[in-house]
């Protein structure tokens, strides 16, 4: 690991000021991604600003829903009684990711900021437009088994690795950030971005901004009774998703009043399935309905040489997640 200057501010404003627009200054929270990347030589900061002592840890009910401080740990969030009662999809998604030790360390803000697990991004001997803009993408003609189906570009086909993000986008969360110009709120669906011509940018956070909280709306609470997070991976636990399907349904009298659907492991951002959600509204709870929804969800998917299996796997994952969430079958 390279040597660096270390700061540990106690106030949010001071932390933001200490960034000073230096592109080689990084915030350190849980460290589960950053310290790993520093050991690999992927990130070589001049300065680390350890934000773990900032007062951004609280999880609390607010008028509009639930406030989640950016430094709340993934496990604190997954185990929180309000989350379990009102946003159980979020608990399921978080507990499907990483390991208990990592979830104890990893923060909510850090989870939003984690980088892709594309093996070419991690291999400094290979070209990667995300790591080194303009160097090319080794994955497009390489072993692209884990890669994107939706929204990729000819510069990058990497996917966002987070499970938590998939639930957050389905539940219409809002990201609150703070910077020198003040605070702003970003809809979760707009926080992460597609690679386009700038795959080095994972999200729309500006270099001098800090995530302070992620808030969940009360409008997502009616979706709390019929939920499931189906994650399909190469081993039973502790692996990144090949595909995942997050489902939260509002069902009354066997009719779908509303649906929230999103996929993980298929795009550069958590992939909300809005067309399938619109289709499901007002439909009866049947396997046939779910199959049609999955077909709609997978429209526009584009596979590469080694991830063609994900087309069928993705559709089946959506159907199975809907069946389990609605109670047609048990998990």
């Amino acid at each position: 690991m390279n040597q660096f200057q270390y700061l540990r501010p106690l106030e949010t404003a001071v932390a933001i000021k200490s960034l000073n627009k230096d592109p080689n200054t990084h915030f350190l929270a849980g460290g589960t991604n950053l310290i790993d990347m520093m050991k690999m030589g992927l990130v070589t900061p001049h300065k680390l600003v350890d934000i773990n002592r900032l007062p951004l840890k609280s999880i609390a009910k607010i008028n509009t829903g639930l406030h989640i401080g950016a430094l709340a740990s993934n496990s604190e969030l997954a185990e929180h009684s309000d989350v379990k009662a009102n946003y159980p999809l979020l608990s399921l998604a978080i507990n499907a990711g990483a390991s208990p030790q990592l979830r104890n360390m990893a923060t909510v803000g850090g989870n939003l900021m984690q980088r892709t697990r594309c093996p070419y991004f991690f291999d400094t001997t290979m070209p990667c437009n995300k790591r080194l803009p303009g160097s090319g993408c080794a994955a497009i003609a390489g072993y692209n088994r884990m890669h994107a189906l939706f929204g990729a570009s000819d510069q990058c086909i990497a996917v966002n690795p987070s499970d938590m993000n998939v639930a957050m986008v389905a539940l219409d969360a809002t990201v609150h950030v703070s910077g020198p110009k003040g605070v702003r709120a970003i809809k979760f669906a707009d926080f992460h971005r597609l690679p386009g011509d700038h795959p080095e940018l994972d999200n729309t956070l500006q270099k001098d901004e800090l995530i302070t909280s992620v808030d969940l709306p009360a409008s997502a609470i009616p979706f709390n009774k019929h939920v499931y997070y189906l994650k399909i991976r190469d081993r039973t636990s502790y692996a990144f998703a090949l595909v995942s399907a997050a489902t939260a349904l509002h069902i009354e009298n066997n009719t779908i009043v509303g649906a929230r659907l999103a996929m993980g492991g298929v795009a550069h951002k958590p992939w909300r399935l809005t067309a399938a959600e619109a289709f499901l509204k007002g439909k009866p709870v049947t396997e046939d309905t779910f199959k049609q929804a999955a077909q709609i969800a997978m429209q526009g998917a584009k596979a590469y040489e080694y991830n063609k299996f994900k087309l069928k796997l993705g559709a089946n994952a959506i159907v199975q997640s809907l069946k389990i969430a609605s109670g047609l079958v048990s998990a």
Partner: protein, 212 residues
């Protein structure tokens, strides 16, 4: 070779134990960055915490490890794992992958299990750390240690201290109600020997009070 190893990762860039002069020779690109005591003064003026460290300076850190308070001095880039093993000679905590993937380095920080290889020592300033050495009460093993022996929960033993630290935390977390749940919530600890069935048996035994 002296018996004492440096407290920095061996695969570093080789400047970690060099002199200030060595470092400066190798870091001409960094000369524009604030390195002077003035930076420290500026930090104080800006109400930064007193923990501000330049690249090559060791700075004080206080850790309470297994009930004993230690006042140490570390470089910012040193992990908690390396401090435990190299400075405090607590080699029960193992370095496996050193990347948070195997769980051999699992310790408790303020009662919560973490991967000590991915946590900077300075981040843990003022915290209470428990390692495998801290589970023993005098000559009496922790019930989980007894259970691992009774159920033959290891072969080579390299992952064992991490497995036991995870298992002790797991029972506190309340996710040990079935074999499936135990396996899921022990998934952060990898065992190449494949002692998993016996590890699960050991955990279930302690949960049922068989050895406590």
């Amino acid at each position: 070779m002296s018996g004492k190893k440096p407290c920095t990762p061996p695969n570093g860039d080789g400047i970690s134990n060099g002199t200030r002069r060595d470092f400066l020779k190798k870091s001409s690109v960094l000369t524009a960055v604030v390195l002077t005591p003035g930076a420290v003064v500026k930090a104080a003026e800006n109400q930064w915490d007193d923990k501000i460290a330049d690249f090559f300076e060791k700075i004080p850190v206080s850790l309470e490890v297994n009930g004993i308070k230690h006042a140490l001095s570390v470089e910012p880039r040193v992990t908690l794992l390396d401090v435990l093993r190299e400075q405090l000679d607590l080699t029960g905590t193992k370095k496996g992958c050193d990347r948070g993937q195997c769980g051999a380095c699992t310790v408790h920080v303020d009662g919560v299990r973490i991967n000590s290889c991915l946590s900077l020592a300075l981040t843990n300033d003022g915290k209470k750390i428990t390692t495998i050495e801290g589970l023993v009460k005098g000559d009496v093993l922790h019930p989980m240690q007894e259970a691992f022996i009774k159920h033959d929960g290891f072969q080579c033993g390299y992952c064992t201290s991490g497995q036991i630290m995870s298992a002790v935390a797991l029972l506190k977390e309340g996710h040990a109600d079935s074999e499936t749940e135990i396996r899921e919530f022990m998934s952060g600890n990898i065992c190449r020997c494949g002692a998993y069935p016996n590890i699960v048996n050991a955990i279930q035994d302690v949960k049922q009070g068989g050895l406590s």
